[in-house]
């Protein structure tokens, strides 16, 4: 689910809502924007890191020497290295890093990718209800893991090897600065990675498009008189040949025109019919609708309960997953209202291109031959407006599909007191200050609609799939940048294998940060590392008390708490790699919207800068120590 989190604009994400933050109330801290959060963490690191550094140096050199050491490094960095930073020297180091990467057979990673792609057909579930999703998920996920492992190995071993082989002295004896070495390495490895990733992107694109490309044929014998309800006389229906493990159905109207096929396996086909002499020839076009990038325009959601009060979320109908809240059906005031902005006739000349993806929850079976009935009302956000809303537009629920429901410009007004209805214009009568409200209700008593912010949106036009696919790879590139930077940073003070392990640790913590937080806060059962280990060895259930002596239990819990505390803190400092993962957007056919890309780029740059600075100081210290 690409929109599992609240859809945020870039500026909201960056600055949050400072007015809602109360210093003593932890529940309001969710309104802290990334900028403030990053500044707090960086400030703490900026204060804490030199102090730790000082303590460590004090053990070895004594306090005064240590203070001098730390102060000189910081002062030198700020007054000497930073102003005299040279991009030319950095690029020279980068060039060496590129050559070194190629020498280290980095292209093996690329070969592995090709081999995996060659055999991907064995593991792909081509009978899946949405093969495009399976294809896209597999290429993006495979590339992601492969590239990250490659970046890890490349970055973590390079500098330690140079130091071990003493080839580093050929560099450090030149007038080159530690920062330039660190950045040069990162740039060099990233250049190699970028070229490889670009090639993988192109090959993957061809693999996906070619793998999904197919067509069907239609035989005249497969077209029969229509059997659907209220079919006009003379109309027909047919079924295509089987291709890629599926068939499509289509209709032939009484005038001989052929409809597009139904939506099966995540796509449809356009059909055409031509007359060749006495013979009618039907042609099925290529697959469409599977490789798309919907560019939804989201609104702000407000939910009203049955009394009409605004509530934070709808009712929980017992789902463990609380993404959606549910609104109750029947004669009550329960409704979900989305407010859309920038609604102008220029942008939406044919009306509102509404698309819905509502969930349905029935408390009784009802008529299972049809969906649950609901109604949409277009409302004017201005309470003083003469026309408050349109009349209700009925609809039948369709679950787990993007249900297109275009709202035309000309609408029926809400019935007047005398029962008469008149026509109104969407933009003239209901749009106020560029805003309009879309209210959705469930009509049937004791039935429910599940709603979340991203469930109802406008879809004026789609983005280019190829561009979205490239954006998906750009997300992988950002992750590669982070892994490379962390790898280089660790390699400035650790040996190769240990640096690789540490980088892998950040990767794992970054990917499983949520789980680690759950373990640390006790939300996940089973205890910390020591307790879990004992439970695994002793085969003890996580739901029971640990079967050891009381004193031992207490000791284990204290040690676990200390360890988990450190790891818990680290999860806030390290990047959350899952947040950078946009494969679900591409696979589910949603455009990776600009705000999200902006968020990712900003976050990646902050982490990159922080890691590069830390790496610079470590390398500089090493120089001093040397």
């Amino acid at each position: 689910m690409p929109f599992e989190h609240h859809v945020m604009t870039f500026w909201y994400w960056l600055f949050g809502d400072p007015l809602k933050i109360r210093f003593l109330d932890a529940t309001t801290w969710t309104h802290i924007g990334f900028l403030l959060g990053a500044l707090i963490i960086l400030f703490l690191i900026a204060i804490g890191a030199p102090f730790v550094w000082f303590l460590m140096a004090a053990v070895k050199h004594g306090p005064s020497e240590a203070f001098y050491l730390v102060a000189r490094a910081i002062y030198g960095g700020a007054t000497d290295d930073l102003p005299r930073f040279s991009l030319r020297r950095t690029l020279a180091v980068a060039r060496v890093a590129v050559q070194e990467a190629i020498r280290n057979k980095v292209l093996i990673g690329f070969a592995v990718f090709l081999v995996l792609l060659l055999f991907a057909g064995l593991f792909l579930d081509v009978r899946n209800a949405n093969p495009a999703r399976a294809y896209l998920s597999i290429v993006l996920t495979t590339t992601n893991y492969l590239v990250l492992v490659m970046a890890l190995l490349l970055s973590a071993f390079s500098l330690p090897n140079d130091i071990k082989n003493r080839t580093i002295y050929t560099v450090v004896t030149k007038p080159i600065r530690a920062g330039e070495i660190v950045l040069g390495r990162v740039f060099g490895f990233m250049a190699v990675g970028t070229v490889m990733l670009a090639a993988m992107c192109a090959i993957s694109y061809v693999f996906v498009v070619r793998g999904l490309s197919h067509t069907h044929t239609i035989k005249a014998a497969d077209i029969k008189p229509a059997s659907w309800k209220n079919a006009p006389p003379g109309s027909k229906e047919g079924v295509t040949s089987t291709s890629n493990h599926h068939q499509h159905e289509f209709r032939v109207e009484k005038d001989g025109t052929v409809s597009q096929t139904d939506f099966i396996a995540g796509h449809f086909h356009e059909n055409s019919v031509t007359q060749q002499g006495a013979e009618t020839v039907y042609r099925v076009g290529p697959n469409r609708g599977d490789l798309i990038a919907r560019a939804p325009v989201f609104g702000n959601l407000v939910v009203h309960d049955r009394e009409g009060n605004v509530v934070e979320k709808g009712i929980n109908v017992g789902d463990e997953w609380t993404y959606r809240g549910f609104i109750e059906g029947g004669a009550n005031r329960s409704a979900a209202i989305w407010t859309f902005s920038n609604i102008t006739p220029e942008r939406y000349k044919d009306g509102l291109p509404l698309e819905m993806n509502l969930a349905v929850f029935r408390t009784y079976k009802g008529d299972i031959e049809r969906g649950v009935l609901g109604e949409i009302t277009i409302r004017n956000p201005n309470p003083e407006a003469k026309v408050k809303s349109s009349g209700p537009i009925p609809f039948e629920s369709r679950e787990f599909v993007a249900h297109r429901f275009p709202i035309p410009r000309e609408l029926n007004a809400a019935p007047a007191a005398d029962g008469r209805s008149r026509k109104i214009d969407l933009f003239r009568d209901l749009v106020y200050d560029g805003k309009v409200e879309v209210s959705i209700r469930c009509v049937e008593r004791s039935q429910y609609f599940g709603v979340a912010q991203a469930d109802v949106y406008l879809r004026p036009s789609d983005s280019l799939f190829a561009l979205n696919f490239a954006k998906g790879f750009f997300s992988i590139w950002l992750q590669m940048l982070l892994v490379t930077t962390y790898g280089v940073m660790f390699s400035t003070f650790l040996s190769g294998p240990v640096a690789a392990l540490a980088t892998a640790g950040t990767l794992v913590l970054g990917m499983f940060g949520h789980f680690v937080r759950d373990v640390a806060t006790g939300a996940a059962e089973g205890g910390g590392p020591i307790e879990s280990f004992i439970r695994m060895i002793m085969q003890q259930n996580v739901m029971t008390e640990l079967e050891v002596a009381t004193w031992m239990d207490r000791g284990i819990k204290i040690c676990d708490k200390a360890m988990m505390g450190v790891i818990y803190a680290l999860t806030f400092v390290l990047p959350d790699y899952l947040r950078f993962d946009t494969s679900q957007f591409v696979a589910s056919g949603y455009n990776i919207y600009g705000d999200l890309v902006g968020q990712h780029v900003t976050a990646a740059l902050v982490y990159f800068a922080a890691a590069a600075v830390v790496g610079y100081f470590f390398l500089k210290t090493r120089e001093i120590a040397g």
Binding site: N128, A129, R362, I368
Partner: protein, 585 residues
């Protein structure tokens, strides 16, 4: 060689240790080889592991198809298969939680590639797809597709686990029970009949749905029977019956035929010879099931239809014991009765009509065991020269009693007697006629101008049902009885539309008293018509219930007209009003 160098010595030791460790590994895992060349030459049976694999049919080729993708994945995990499986299971659970069902399906298919021969995984995940996931969808067509996915998944399981009876039986269960018992059964069974793609897939896997046609289209119950048959054939070929109890495993086939016959009448409205034939087929299958030897959990074999024969044998042994130790049984019984307290004895001596519920409970669970005389007790009273013979007889009685009790309890589990009677009864003309009449009457009961005819049909049907219940009283207390109450309620509505009171001497009063729905219905009549509820033949003399005070009774007797107006539609029919006038008593 420099043995002074410790590093060199260490390496030599390591190499030697590796070589020594390789020997047992080679002994254990040496592969088997087949003979080449002359007919006399024999292949090697291989190492211990290879031999064990052959002995227990555990080699991959024996278990099922060898899937290169599965084998590659198992190898690619480099011994971390368990970890990979755990990660995939966690993902699958997550996808299910966030309703990402496409990815759930993908994850499940990855799991089974790593655990292809773990039967519980197939069982669990197929249930997950067919039952848990399908109900998440609102559209019944989507639900049907997910039920199919579960069945497809099980069929895939039979590739990896060839002729696995448990999986084949479960496919039958999903085809029958899931498609035929869900809330959406009408829609599911309709979709199944038209699902040619699914039929073709079944055909590919050895199930020809053309052998299971009803009205020219495949019937899901009968198709399920074909899968059950395949499962039974696999057992007959020597495949072990894992994860399934024989009692329930062999019960599935006959029950599928019973359900098919029921659906034929109830859903398709087919009666007459076709229905009779369907019931006869079910009856024969049930008889075969009753005659089949089943392994009981106690370790001995039983036959469900042998209980009467066993009881006769048991009685014969008791008589034999009584002959060996004459008078001992009666003597022991009197002694035990004498040992009871007077009030306990009074309970046992009460006439049947005065025994309360509490008395029954005490007799069954406290007093009965106290006065019961066991064969061992009788044997202990035997004369010295006959004691060995008597004890032997007592042991034989005990053993037989265990078999009788187990058979009885197994019969109860599958409701054997009821289905035996039902299959027999449903073939009778009166049953077929009764059902046809009720269904036809249910269909026309709201048609203006046909109310009187509907009433006539209902009443004829009740007479037939009454005859049937008289002959087969065991059918009274059943789901079938409950369903009949619905039609009786329709009959009641019809009578109200005709302005006729519900007859106090209703033919099926026994049924109404027996099932909870019937009792509720009678209460409703009491409220709606303000008259005493119809009474069963034996109830006439029963005193009025204490909770019905006389004044209430008087009140409820007063009104002549029904408390509520008749249902719309029936009301405005002049023809029927006239008919009602004619038929009113």
């Amino acid at each position: 060689m420099n043995f002074q160098n410790p590093s060199f010595v260490r390496k030599v030791i390591y190499l030697a240790a590796i070589a020594v460790l390789l020997l047992p590994i080679a002994y254990l895992s040496q592969p088997a080889t087949v003979a080449r060349g002359t007919a006399d030459s024999k292949g090697s049976p291989g190492g211990k592991l290879a031999q064990l694999r052959v002995r227990y049919n555990l080699s991959q080729a024996e278990l099922g198809e060898i899937d290169p993708a599965s084998e590659t994945m198992k190898l690619a995990t480099l011994g971390l298969r368990g970890v990979a499986v755990n990660v995939l299971w966690t993902s699958a659970i997550h996808y299910q939680k966030v309703k990402d069902f496409n990815n759930l399906e993908l994850a499940v298919k990855q799991i089974i590639r790593l655990q292809p021969n773990f039967l519980k995984v197939w069982d669990f995940q197929a249930h997950n797809l067919s039952y848990n996931t399908s109900v998440e969808f609102d559209n019944f067509r989507d639900r049907y597709q997910w039920v199919k996915k579960g069945i497809d998944f099980l069929i895939l399981g039979t590739h990896y686990n060839r002729d696995e009876p448990g999986l084949l039986n479960t496919i039958g269960w999903y085809c029958g029970q899931k498609l035929g018992r869900s809330d959406e059964r009408i829609q599911f069974r309709r979709l199944f009949k038209e699902d040619k793609e699914f039929h073709a897939e079944f055909y590919k896997h050895g199930v020809d749905v053309d052998q299971a046609l009803v009205l020219g289209k495949p019937d899901s119950w009968l198709v399920s029977k074909l899968w059950y048959d395949k499962a039974e054939e696999a057992v007959a070929r020597g495949k072990p019956l894992r994860l399934k109890q024989p009692l329930l495993f062999y019960n599935s086939g006959p029950m599928a035929l019973i359900n098919a016959a029921t659906a034929l009448e109830k859903e398709d409205g087919v009666f007459g010879q076709e229905a009779q034939f369907a019931w006869r087929r079910a009856d024969r299958a049930w008889d075969r099931y009753g005659s089949r030897e089943l392994l009981a959990s106690a370790g001995f074999m039983i036959r469900l239809n042998s209980v009467n024969e066993l009881r006769q044998r048991q009685q014969g042994l008791h008589d034999e014991l009584d002959r060996i130790v004459p008078g001992a049984r009666e003597q022991l019984k009197q002694e035990k009765l004498a040992a009871l307290k007077p009030e306990e004895r009074a309970i046992l001596e009460k006439p049947a009509s005065q025994v309360t519920y509490e008395d029954t409970m005490r007799i069954n669970f406290e007093l009965g065991p106290k006065v019961a005389v066991s064969p061992d007790e009788i044997a202990s009273r035997a004369a010295r020269e006959k004691r060995t013979l008597a004890r032997d007889m007592a042991d034989r009685i005990s053993s037989l009693t265990e078999v009788v009790q187990t058979t009885g309890s197994y019969r109860n589990i599958v409701n054997y007697e009821y289905w035996e009677n039902r299959c027999e009864a449903e073939q009778l003309d009166i049953a077929l006629k009764a059902r046809a009449l009720v269904r036809d009457a249910d269909l026309i009961r709201r048609d203006a101008g046909k109310l009187s005819k509907a009433r006539q049909m209902y009443e004829e049907a009740w007479e037939n049902w009454a005859l049937l219940f008289e002959k087969y009283p065991v059918l009274l207390d059943s789901v079938q009885g409950q369903e009949l109450v619905e039609s009786i309620a329709h009959y009641h509505d019809l009578l109200r539309a005709l302005d006729v009171r519900f007859p106090a001497d209703f033919k099926l009063n026994n049924l109404l008293d027996m099932v909870p729905e019937g009792r509720m219905f009678k209460d409703q009549i009491r409220v709606v018509e303000g008259a005493p509820a119809p009474q069963s033949p034996g109830q006439g003399a029963a005193p009025p219930k204490s909770e019905s005070p006389p004044e209430t009774k008087d009140k409820t007797n007063t009104p002549e007209k029904p408390a509520e107006s008749p249902k719309p539609g029936a009301e405005g029919s002049p023809g029927d009003a006239a008919a009602a006038g004619k038929t009113e008593p």
